[in-house]
């Protein structure tokens, strides 16, 4: 649940591409009811963006806040399900771009939408064991839903990353982390397929809610904490409804979810989703605030984290763009341009 040596976040970075497509525009193209769309709009990566370029922006923002020499990073781990190469690590390109090479562990992690939070838990163990002074974990995706599929309304691009170091250097100390995993076939993509398949209503109760709630409850039990102890809570955000419902099931007040709820404005950034919500909360939090965060990845599992903010956050958070500034930097595009940028037209 926690390493012998206390660790925390010493720097964090976020990034969301500039382009947006409205849910009503997707509904218009496929003849669906524009009043029944799940979110307002979602982010779309530019033609020259992919998980590598987004992860590089995230890593640079995290380094700006941490203020460390990238050569002191012993790990650069990228969690994603949208690797530009099927075989060739995303993480080596990111590590090279931020000058963390060559004495660094680099690997790509995969677990649907919780690939990013897995890297954070591994960073906690890597630094907590004394093997690494600092370690960087990133969750990023340029997610794709099949044209006309329900997931097309929310599958978005963006992510966030965290540099883990000793607790005394931290802007937020990690009090504990725990995972809850079962074999649940709610969402998958087979080799060489462009788009994923999903189990429709099966994705809710036995999948998202079971894992998010069980993982969150177990960590709070282990730590002896309760929802009232926390100022903010973040859950994986496949849409607007699910995280609010999970909060209600666990007994968190709605207002504790709102600051970290970014999916209505940018969509579901998959491996970046919960981590981007956490970054939005850190942008706002102050010393002494307690934060609870639980990711969810189909397949299925959740990672939960309990954090307490230190007085180092105030000076560091202003050193890189906030999540809000990326959400506000937007250019709306139509379905035709979206189809081109996302290579939905095969020539």
């Amino acid at each position: 649940m926690k390493p012998n040596k206390s660790v925390g976040i010493i720097g964090y970075g976020a990034y969301v591409p500039k382009y947006r497509i409205q849910n009503t525009e997707i509904a218009r193209v496929w003849g669906n009811d524009p009043n029944l769309v799940p979110i307002r709009e979602k982010s779309v990566p530019g033609a020259d963006e992919d998980s590598v370029t987004i992860a590089i922006e995230i890593a640079r923002n995290a380094l700006l806040r941490a203020g460390i020499d990238p050569k002191d990073l012993r790990a650069v781990w990228v969690g994603t399900e949208s690797k530009p190469y099927a075989v060739k690590p995303t993480s080596t390109i990111v590590a090279e771009a931020i000058a963390a090479t060559p004495f660094v562990n680099a690997a790509d992690w995969e677990f649907a939408c919780k690939a990013g939070s897995e890297t954070i838990q591994a960073c906690i163990a890597y630094v907590g064991s004394g093997m690494a002074k600092y370690a960087l974990g990133i969750g990023v995706d340029t997610a794709q839903g099949a044209p006309s599929d329900a997931l097309e309304y929310t599958a978005a691009a963006g992510g966030a990353g965290y540099i883990i170091g000793s607790a005394k250097e931290s802007l937020a100390v990690i009090e504990g982390s725990l995972s809850y995993v079962t074999d649940t076939p709610d969402f998958w993509r087979r080799q060489h397929e462009h788009y994923p398949k999903h189990g429709n209503r099966f994705t809710g109760e036995p999948s998202y809610f079971k894992h998010v709630v069980s993982s969150s409850k177990a960590l709070m039990e282990e730590l002896g904490t309760k929802p009232d102890d926390y100022n903010y809570v973040i859950f994986h955000q496949p849409n607007r409804k699910f995280p609010l419902e999970a909060a209600k099931m666990l007994g968190f007040l709605k207002e504790k979810v709102i600051d970290g709820l970014v999916s209505p404005y940018i969509g579901n950034t998959y491996a970046g989703s919960a981590l981007l919500g956490l970054a939005a909360v850190l942008d706002k939090a102050k010393a002494g605030d307690k934060i609870f965060c639980t990711s969810y990845g189909s397949g299925a599992g959740s990672d939960s984290f309990s954090l307490e903010v230190t007085d180092k956050l105030a000076d560091r958070k202003v050193k890189a763009p906030s999540v809000k500034s990326y959400i506000e930097r937007r250019e709306e595009i139509d379905y035709a341009r979206y189809a081109r940028y996302r290579k939905k037209i095969r020539m």
Partner: protein, 135 residues
Amino acid sequence: MDVPRHWREQVRRYRLVGSKCKDCEKLSFPYRTVCPKCRSRNYEDYQLIGRGKIISFTNINSPPKEHKYNLPFAVALIELMEGPVITAQITDARAEELEIGMEVEMVTRKIMEYNDDGIICYGYKFRPIVEYAHP
């Protein structure tokens, strides 16, 4: 597909690493092996900050086929904070959104890819600086 050529240049292109003459301190980008000012061959790598101002720009309508995926895009002459002037693609902004004197920052983006089964080349581009305020 010229993989070795891309590999030789990739670090400088990912991070915007130029070179500095150890004798007269002239900075250059791309890196050089002979100083254009004092003819010295005594050079070292120099990490540029990646910020500068547009001194001229143009819109590209007929690029080489590897860059067509990204049309329309602008190419600009950028005077870096440290002095060197470089030519680079502009991203996240169309030519009509640019002006001479505009401050820009370096980002690492996809430059081109060799079909669906080849290598993906990443490198520097510039974009208008992301303004930010904190809640």
